[in-house]
Point group: C2
């Protein structure tokens, strides 16, 4: 055992691990993307792109130009010339680049919470069988999803049926099969679990839920931009997600909503606003929803918040999601290797699947010291996030994270845990 | 009568009107503010600050610095360090500078439509008397307000009672008195009517509604930042408004919500999200609202969209709302003078109150040719907005509009209407 800050044991070889990072970076077909992001030329190790993605460098110029020339120059004319269509135009781009959604089914709007509220209420409105009184979800679903359906169940007189999910994994098709049946109205699940990073089998679960006669709402917050998604192919009913994680839209950028085209003709969401009305600027009496996905809109679209994500969508259209997923798998595999070499011997637990194909783009590590460790890491510009009671999430954003950066960050965790 | 583009009649004197603009600009105590806004050194005449305010020049720097150093540099740490508190911090500043609201009652969130949905649902939840089954509103209320309560009434099994408002004015306390009674649950009105610019008597109407045992929700979209408001003083229950008009927050910047402190202990809004939960980052099971106005939040706050409005709030704290209101009165009075001199003889109608103290900061003019006239005006960088079927709104933003700019714009309207 070393007393001068060197390795604790000789069961691993730091040199080989570092060399592997260099090799992975050198052979990474997406390596050129990293330099497009602000701050990637520093020693900061950012391991939380699963929570808030880094800004692209072009975002500063895009937004400055927008303030000066768009907002400042076109002024109110901008609404007619471009902005009114942005929720659908960017929605369609997102559908094409990321979601596997044909045009006309995706829109940018509100926050994830509000979008989920509107989608779930819309889904429930589409359920005609009065015997279907249950909303199925799992205990590892993201907090806002859980809170939201508690509120909806209360106001609609429905029951929540909880799937007891493995905290280190997530929900299986078998569990969904067991939980659904003639009482199920809606199933709400996360595609990638926010804590464990478990990647649910979206097509199989969607099929299982449909076999039970239920509608499915998928929360794609932790999967959009990190794993390949084919909503149309899987026949998903509804989906929502945020754009500030792997899509780099900036803190609090608006969410997206997907409504499968088969539900659009009868879509009825509860927040009736002017932007979702047919012929909005006639400002006529009486609400009549705009046809198609437009009818999902309520208030004035957050144009500012939509601008940054366009840069990332352009980038993804260039690289393709397959390359992003491939790098994500390499990143999480390398993170697990570092964990096994350095952290497992120090008593850290991996609370994520060991099988790469069952993971999204982050892993969670548990250790009783991690609340304090996270604070110390942040001080030294190593930035994972902390999830109570004792988890650190290592989030790896394929477009901006390098293997060397991951090495540095994990080494800092190791150094802080050493006795 | 002139045939070379000069005045049509001799009943007014262009020279004197122009001289008056110069005099008003020269003696305007807020004149120094105009130069702080982008584009005010051009000949463009912007008469639509009531719809979308101009950006401050500092906004470019503020937002570039935020992307580079805040989002890009602090990354996820920014939430802990500052951003999580921004909805309340900026809400309090707005309350202090603009709304007459003591701290802890105002928050920035969502869109106006979503905020109104949550407020009205919260107001209805606070009504315990089952005989109160009516929502009172007026026919000149803003479209999103009208559509929204249609939807809410439908889902809650309530009735809408419509006050038939004068399209060239708005709702009087007498009309509200007549419309309210033991059946009234909630009254929803606009402080300044979006079309006529009529300034409702907020304190008197609030008293009348309270006397009938009803709760009042005020839509302040067209008054926040243009007229003096004292929500606490008037004992208003709930209020909402947007921040992209006189507060210059940018297209689609988030809305604000005001909940009087007496309602906060029992506040129950329907969209239960993680940001409104007690100890949000514990991510614990079961929703329990955060105490106070924080419990009104649902999803992740739109940080980007909040940054621009801070510049205007700082400015307003320097000038005070009294000076802004005084200039607004001068601006609309001068606009009415120009109308009388130039446009009334051409068959244009003023669809706004003649008495200055009954107006907000815009007026509406009607003429059958105005749809086409607006398109032609926009081409020549004179920018009012058009409201079907035949209205032009002349919106005057006291911090950024000059009298000379107003003169130029109204002259362009005149020139396009001339035979």
């Amino acid at each position: 055992m070393s007393t001068h800050g060197g390795p604790l044991t000789e069961t691993y070889d730091d040199g080989a691990l570092l060399e592997r990072a260099a090799h992975l970076d050198a052979s990474d077909p997406l390596a050129r993307c990293r330099g497009l992001f602000i701050g990637t030329d520093t020693d900061l190790s950012y391991l939380d792109g699963n929570s808030l993605g880094r800004p692209l460098k072009r975002t500063v110029n895009d937004i400055s130009a927008f303030i000066q020339d768009g907002w400042g120059g076109r002024l109110i004319r901008g609404w007619d010339e471009e902005w009114l269509e942005l929720p659908q135009a960017i929605g369609d781009q997102l559908g094409r680049a990321v979601l596997g959604a044909a045009p006309g089914q995706t829109v940018i709007a509100d926050s994830t919470t509000v979008v989920l509220y509107k989608l779930i209420r819309a889904a429930l409105a589409a359920v005609t069988d009065p015997a279907r009184t249950e909303i199925v979800l799992d205990t590892e679903n993201f907090p806002t999803d859980r809170y939201l359906v508690e509120g909806i169940a209360r106001e609609e007189g429905l029951t929540l049926r909880w799937i007891d999910a493995d905290p280190a994994a997530g929900v299986t098709p078998e569990q969904v099969k067991e939980a659904t049946g003639p009482s199920t109205a809606v199933v709400l699940l996360s595609h990638v679990a926010y804590r464990s990073g478990f990647l649910a089998d979206l097509p199989a679960i969607t099929d299982v839920a449909h076999s039970a006669g239920a509608l499915v709402v998928w929360d794609l917050c932790h999967s959009a931009g990190s794993v390949e998604i084919d909503l149309d192919g899987a026949g998903v009913d509804f989906a929502a997600g945020c754009t500030y994680k792997y899509l780099n839209g900036g803190p609090g950028s608006p969410a997206f909503a997907y409504v499968n085209s088969r539900h659009l003709p009868t879509l009825r969401q509860p927040v009736w606003g002017w932007m979702g009305r047919k012929d909005a600027f006639e400002m006529a009496a009486g609400y009549e929803p705009a046809p198609g996905i437009r009818g999902f809109l309520s208030g004035t679209p957050a144009i500012f918040g939509m601008l940054a994500m366009r840069g990332t969508l352009d980038l993804i259209e260039g690289t393709g999601m397959a390359a992003i997923r491939a790098k994500s798998l390499d990143l999480t595999a390398y993170a697990v290797d570092l964990f096994e070499a350095w952290l497992e011997p120090l008593g850290v637990q991996l609370s994520s699947p060991r099988e790469p194909e069952r993971r999204g783009s982050h892993i969670t590590l548990d250790h009783p010291a991690f609340r304090n460790v996270t604070a110390a890491l942040w001080e030294q510009d190593v930035i994972p996030d902390f999830r109570a009671p004792q988890g650190i999430r290592i989030g790896l954003s394929p477009l901006s994270t390098s293997f060397a950066e991951l090495y540095r960050g994990m080494a800092a965790v190791r150094d802080l845990l050493r006795p």
